[in-house]
């Protein structure tokens, strides 16, 4: 949105969206956990009516504020109204569900269409405030936080579902984060060099980008299916000592064959790539275990027993981290490539002409100019990983996907919601954090 626009279009759209939300049922009260249908309650109905009126007035005010000229304090006013709205909604969800539940703990309260739409409209107003003047966002953030800590949410079905077993929720959440945290360094370790290679060598550009893009189009279930026999075979037949020897001997052999023998460059590259890919699952397991048990192997080292002893199996963490690593590649590779291409050729030539060594050119010129792009790639990759880690449950890899899968299987809507809302919140938090980081890392001289 251009600064000083005549009105704030986002805020207007949000108000329009909120109109049907005032009408549609806000909550649904289901008599028990497993029953999919229940009684719908709207904002115009008895216990909610005062909140309904307050919301109607608030949205009208927001629409009016959106039409004010900038000079008349549109930004602070919108910020203030959004703060009130956020506080009211955050508190309302908690209080409302508690009131509707009454004293029957079996009753499950969830949001109905109108409730979700109302929250979505509120999200849109946040965007409107950000477009208007981002520095006012702290106001609604503070209001939301205050309401959040001061209101009980026990009435909400989702929370009830959490309370059934907080330990297993925390386990799932931690496992979700562990999977992401184990895959991310591997994605970066593979993606950054690939992006740099795609930039440096003409011949590598098309194949690298094509492969990274192709990986993205594969359905992850198919990839799991492919990995299952491969990894279980690898886990059964390889040992740590054998692998250690292979890690030394194979690169040596490839290098010797390339340097003095008949192996062409592309064959050498192909061998190196497949060797790296073969190591990936084991590294993934080690990283994951490092995060879970503070050591790479769950128990003592078994040098001569199959790697399956260390957790390299067709099911579990190994395929989960491998698949995540491969899926996360595309944003990192593309953004690295893009970032390096965005470095002006003249600046690079000048850097060399001033007498910078190749590493100095990289460190002092290319890296600072490409860094915002790299962090942008990191952000895209992290978002993908946070979302896709939900599927790890398919191969018994754990994570928040557990709630999605079990919830669907047992037809417990609140369980599905608990999983979905957690994943979405995680993604939003990651997104906001890294957007800030990009802003901060963009060199001042190249900021728009």
């Amino acid at each position: 949105m251009p600064r000083n626009a005549r009105y704030n279009p986002l805020a207007l759209v949000a108000s329009a969206m909120a109109l049907p939300a005032l009408w549609l049922p806000t909550f649904v009260a289901r008599p028990s956990r497993v029953l999919p249908i229940g009684e719908l309650v709207g904002l115009w109905q008895a216990p909610l009516a005062p909140a309904g009126w307050a919301l109607a007035v608030l949205w009208a005010l927001i629409a009016v504020a959106a039409l004010l000229p900038t000079a008349r304090g549109r930004a602070p006013l919108l910020g203030l109204l959004t703060a009130v709205l956020t506080g009211l909604l955050t508190a309302g969800v908690g209080w409302g569900s508690l009131r509707l539940q009454g004293d029957d703990p079996m009753i499950r309260i969830g949001l109905a269409g109108g409730g979700w739409l109302m929250l979505a409209s509120c999200g849109l107003v946040w965007l409107a405030v950000r477009a208007e003047a981002g520095r006012w966002l702290w106001l609604p953030a503070l209001a939301g936080l205050l309401a959040w800590v001061s209101v009980p949410y026990g009435g909400l079905g989702m929370v009830a579902e959490y309370r059934i077993s907080p330990e297993s929720y925390h386990d799932a959440l931690l496992q979700h984060l562990r999977l992401v945290a184990a895959a991310l360094p591997l994605t970066l370790a593979l993606g950054l060099p690939l992006g740099i290679a795609a930039y440096r060598w003409q011949a590598a550009e098309a194949p690298v980008l094509a492969v990274a893009g192709f990986l993205q189009t594969l359905p992850s279930v198919a990839l799991y299916g492919l990995l299952l026999p491969l990894l279980s075979l690898q886990g059964k037949t390889w040992t740590l000592s054998g692998l250690g020897a292979a890690c030394v001997l194979i690169p040596l052999a490839v290098w010797l064959l390339y340097r003095f023998g008949p192996v062409g460059r592309w064959l050498a590259v192909a061998l190196a790539v497949s060797g790296t890919l073969a190591l990936l699952p084991l590294l993934g397991v080690a990283l994951h275990n490092l995060l879970e048990y503070a050591r790479p192997w769950q128990d003592t080292l078994h040098w001569h027993q199959p790697l399956a002893e260390h957790g390299l199996r067709g099911l579990g963490v190994a395929p989960a981290v491998t698949v995540l690593t491969l899926y996360g590649l595309l944003p990192v590779v593309v953004q690295t490539h893009l970032g390096l291409r965005a470095v002006p050729a003249a600046a690079r030539e000048a850097a060399r002409g001033m007498g910078m060594r190749p590493m100095e050119v990289f460190r002092l010129v290319e890296l600072p100019l490409a860094l915002p792009y790299l962090v942008e790639g990191l952000r895209g990759s992290l978002l993908l990983l946070v979302g896709l880690a939900s599927l790890a449950v398919l191969v018994n890899g754990g994570g928040l996907g557990y709630y999605l899968m079990r919830g669907v299987e047992q037809a417990v809507l609140d369980m599905v919601l608990l999983g979905a809302v957690s994943v979405a919140a995680l993604a939003l938090a990651v997104d906001a954090l890294l957007r800030g980081l990009v802003q901060w890392l963009t060199p001042e001289g190249v900021r728009p």
């Binding site: 003249a346 000048a350 002409g353 001033m354 007498g355 910078m356 001289g445 190249v446």
Partner: protein, 307 residues
């Protein structure tokens, strides 16, 4: 002193520079001139070894540059890249201090050097903390020149440093360069495709065509005796006028009295072209005055015809 020996550089079989031999003695301002694509930039980049020659050698003070570490070599050679090539993420001061920083100068020394250089190229001190994007084209080119001068190199390579400027700024910077050259004698290789600029600045001018050296010598020699049809065409029909660019009124005036004291006065070190222009405007004769305003000679149209 630089010696280029039978220097060639081919790109995919196409010769960008072909068999160029050239000697540039210390303290001279050597101009490289020629049409677009004739290999001027390539020749510069061969000198600081941004690219390696296909055949031939570059000798710097008698040492073959192929035997030196390229980065160390380049840190000794100032380089003003075509189209400024400033680092967009560094401030003006940081841009200028790049080479001193690479050479590990202490901070205080770098700051002093930046201040001195900004004064030398006439950049206001307030610009030091600006980023290149917030500078005018002329200011950017000045920063480029200051950056090349930062480590006080004895050899300076300048690739069309004044190309993107209006005539007034361009003249200012040319004068500034001549001024700098007068004070701190450097060996300068200066690329341009503007004949007038070449004549104004160059101690020697080398004319290039399709990667080859056509003619090299003092400006007057090129203007008066072009070696072939290409050189004559490149120098152009105005070559006589062009020659005036290097001369002042003092070079043409008659010093025998009596002086036409009633005629309008001009200074003896006024560029000859400006005096000519005033005579062509209808002024029959001009009085020439010395530094303290005393009459030292006179000049009229026919004085330009002699010589």
């Amino acid at each position: 002193m630089i010696r280029l020996e039978a220097l060639s550089r081919h790109f995919d079989g196409h010769a960008a520079v072909e068999d160029v031999s050239l000697e540039i003695s210390g303290g001279t301002l050597q101009v490289l001139i020629g049409p677009s694509g004739c290999g001027k930039s390539t020749l510069l980049r061969l000198i600081n070894r941004l690219i390696a020659p296909t055949t031939g050698r570059v000798l710097l003070d008698g040492v073959d540059t192929a035997t030196l570490a390229p980065e160390a070599l380049r840190r000794r050679i100032g380089y003003v890249i075509q189209g400024t090539g400033l680092f967009p993420h560094l401030t003006v001061a940081e841009n200028i201090a790049v080479v001193p920083r690479l050479l590990g100068w202490p901070k205080a020394a770098r700051r002093q050097r930046v201040e001195a250089l900004m004064e030398l190229v006439r950049l206001e001190p307030a610009l030091a903390t600006r980023y290149p994007a917030a500078l005018s084209g002329g200011q950017q080119q000045r920063v480029g020149i200051a950056r090349a001068l930062a480590a006080d190199p004895a050899l300076l390579l300048m690739d069309e440093p004044f190309s993107a400027l209006d005539p007034v700024t361009r003249r200012q910077l040319q004068a500034a360069l001549l001024d700098i050259q007068q004070r701190v004698r450097k060996t300068i290789v200066f690329v341009t495709h503007d004949m007038e600029e070449a004549v104004r600045l160059g101690d020697r001018i080398a004319l290039m065509q399709d990667g080859r050296l056509v003619q090299n010598g003092p400006p007057d020699a090129l203007l008066r005796h072009p070696v072939n049809a290409f050189a004559a065409a490149f120098v152009g029909e105005e070559r006589a006028l062009m020659r005036l660019a290097r001369h002042s009124v003092a070079d043409f005036m008659r010093t025998e009295p009596p002086f036409p004291l009633a005629a309008p006065a001009v200074s003896a070190n006024l560029p000859a072209r400006q005096a000519l222009s005033r005579l062509l405007d209808g002024q029959p004769v001009l009085l020439v005055t010395g530094p303290s305003g005393e009459a030292v000679g006179q000049i009229a149209l026919q004085d330009f015809a002699q010589e």
